[in-house]
Symmetry: C2
Amino acid sequence: MKDVAARAGVGLKTVSRVVNGEPGVTPDTERRVQEAIEALGFRRNDSARVLRKGRTASIGLVLEDLADPFYGPLSRAVEEVARAHGALLINGSSAEDPDREQELVLALCARRVDGLVVIPAGDDHRYLEPEIKAGVATVFVDRPAGKIDADVVLSDSFGGARDGVAHLIAHGHRRIGFIGDMPRIHTAAERLRGYRAAMEDAGIPVEDAWMSLGVTDPLRVREAAEEMLSGPSPVTAIFAGNNRVTVTVVRVISEIGRPVALVGFDDIELADLLNPGVTVVAQDAAALGRTAAERLFRQLDGSLVTPERIELPTRLITRGSGELPPSG
Amino acid sequence: MKDVAARAGVGLKTVSRVVNGEPGVTPDTERRVQEAIEALGFRRNDSARVLRKGRTASIGLVLEDLADPFYGPLSRAVEEVARAHGALLINGSSAEDPDREQELVLALCARRVDGLVVIPAGDDHRYLEPEIKAGVATVFVDRPAGKIDADVVLSDSFGGARDGVAHLIAHGHRRIGFIGDMPRIHTAAERLRGYRAAMEDAGIPVEDAWMSLGVTDPLRVREAAEEMLSGPSPVTAIFAGNNRVTVTVVRVISEIGRPVALVGFDDIELADLLNPGVTVVAQDAAALGRTAAERLFRQLDGSLVTPERIELPTRLITRGSGELPPSG
C-alpha cells in the first residue's frame, strides 16, 4: 500500500479509503489510486491481508428476483460453496433494474465483499472495472457480463429451446407459439433464437402472432397465451420461455378445455403430478451456482486468471404435455 | 460521541470502532462503551448521522433457507418496503443453524446495516443486545426472538393448524397423521399444538404413531408418510406441517393408489391444478414481510419504542384434498 500511495501521490489513508470503497475521495484521486494499484499489480484479495485483519471473508450474490424459484437452488449452491471456504454469503436483488444492480454491486463492494457472483440485469458492467482491478473476484452467472471481460457460467439457452421446439415439431406440430421474457434479457433472446432455429430447420415459416416477448407477470402471459390459442388458426403447441411463463400457460391451458401441447424452459415443482405432466427443458440451477462459486474461489486463491465462458447443457424431460398431438 | 468517549474513558476512535462493529476493541472496552451509549441514550440510527456520512441506508434480512419458496414473497415484500424508504436490502441464510445465524447477523452489523429483519434459527438472541443498544433496529419474523424483548411478526400457526385439522375431523376423519418440522422450531411446535388441540376438542385420543416431527427433506417425510399410511390401521388423512412436507406427501399419496385426505400448512404453487386440488392453510408471506419491514422503519424513524408481538391470521383454502371422506 505504501508503494501505491507513493505512486499515486496520496496518503496511506486515501489508498485505504479507495480500496475499501469508503467515501471522502474525489473521483480524480480515486482514478489515480486505481491506476497505481493496476500498475503495481496490487490485489485486494491477498489472503494474508484478509487473515491479518481477522475479519470473516464474504462473497456477494446479486440476483434478479428474490421470489423466482429458479434462483433458490442456485443461491443455495453458491452458499454451500462459500461455506465450504469459510465465507459468508450476502445476497441482494436487482429486481431486473440495471441501476439497482449497479447500486447493489457497489454497495456490496463498499461493504468489503471479497468476491461477487452476479446475475446481471444490465448490459454494461464497465462500472465494475475499478472493483475488479482492486481485487474483487467476479463471476457472472445465468447471463453474460456486458462490455467487460469476465468469467461467465450459463445454461445452453439456445440449444435447450431449439431441442424443446424440435420435440414439439417431431410430435406433429407446425403452429407453435413462443412466450418469453423481455427481449433485452440474454436468456430470453437466446431461447427465442433457439425457437426460430428449430422452426427454420423444419422449414416452417414463423408468423409474428406466434411470438410474444415481455414481462413474465401472470396478466401479460395470460393475455399472450389466450390470444395465440384463439382465432381461426390458433397455435396447437406453446413453448414457454421460463418457469414463470410455464405456470401461467399451464393454468390457461387447463381452462381452455382442449389439449394444447406445452414444453417449458426450466423445471417446476410438481410438474410431474399435473395431468398431463409438464414436459420441460431443465436447467441445472444448482450446477450453475456451484460452478460459478467454485470459479470465484479459484479466482480468489489466484489459480484462475483468464476469464472463460462456461456453458452447461440442458436436459429435455418428457412427461406428457410435450408429446400431445396437434388438436383442432 | 464525545460524551460517550468521556464517560467510557476511551478515545473517539474507540467509540467509532465499537459503534461501527470494527475489530481491534477488547471485550471489556466494548462493554464500557456500550454502557456509556446506553446511559446517554445515544442511538446509532440518528438519521442526521446517516445523511452526514452520505452512505446508502441498508437493512439486512436473515432467512432460514434460500431455496424455500415460502421466503420468496416474504423477501420480496421486505425489499419493496426497503426500496420505498430508499434503503438497500442485503440477505443471508442461516441454513437453520443457530451459530450461523449469529455469525451472519453480526457480520451484517459489522457491515453497518441500519436494521435487521431476522427469521431466527436459534432460541437465544442475547448476542444481539449490544447491537440493538447501539441502535440497530430489529424485527423478528415467522418465529419469535429468544431471551430478548423484540418486535415479532408471526402467523397464527396454532390457530391455523387447529382449524385445518378440525376441517379434516368435520369431514369424518379420526385417524389423522401430523408430519412437521423439527420440534425445536417454534412454528413446528405451534402447529403440533394446534393439531393436538383440534383432536382433543373432538375427543379423539392421539396415537404416537400418528405424529412425526423432524427435518423436512423428502426422504424423511416420505418414510414418515409411508409408515402412517401402511399397517392394519393406517391414517385416513394427513396434516402436513409446511410446504416442504406437503409436496412430498402429495407425491406419496399419488403413488399409493387410494384416496387419502390432505391439508397442508402454507400454500404451494399449482396446488389448485392437481387432482384433487390441495386444501391448504395459507399464510400471507408477503404480509409478514411487509409488516415486519414497516415496523423496522418505524423503529428507525423513532416512532416505535415498545416491542410488540403481532400475529397475522391464516386462511383455509378448500380445493378437494381436504374434503375427501375417509377411505378403507
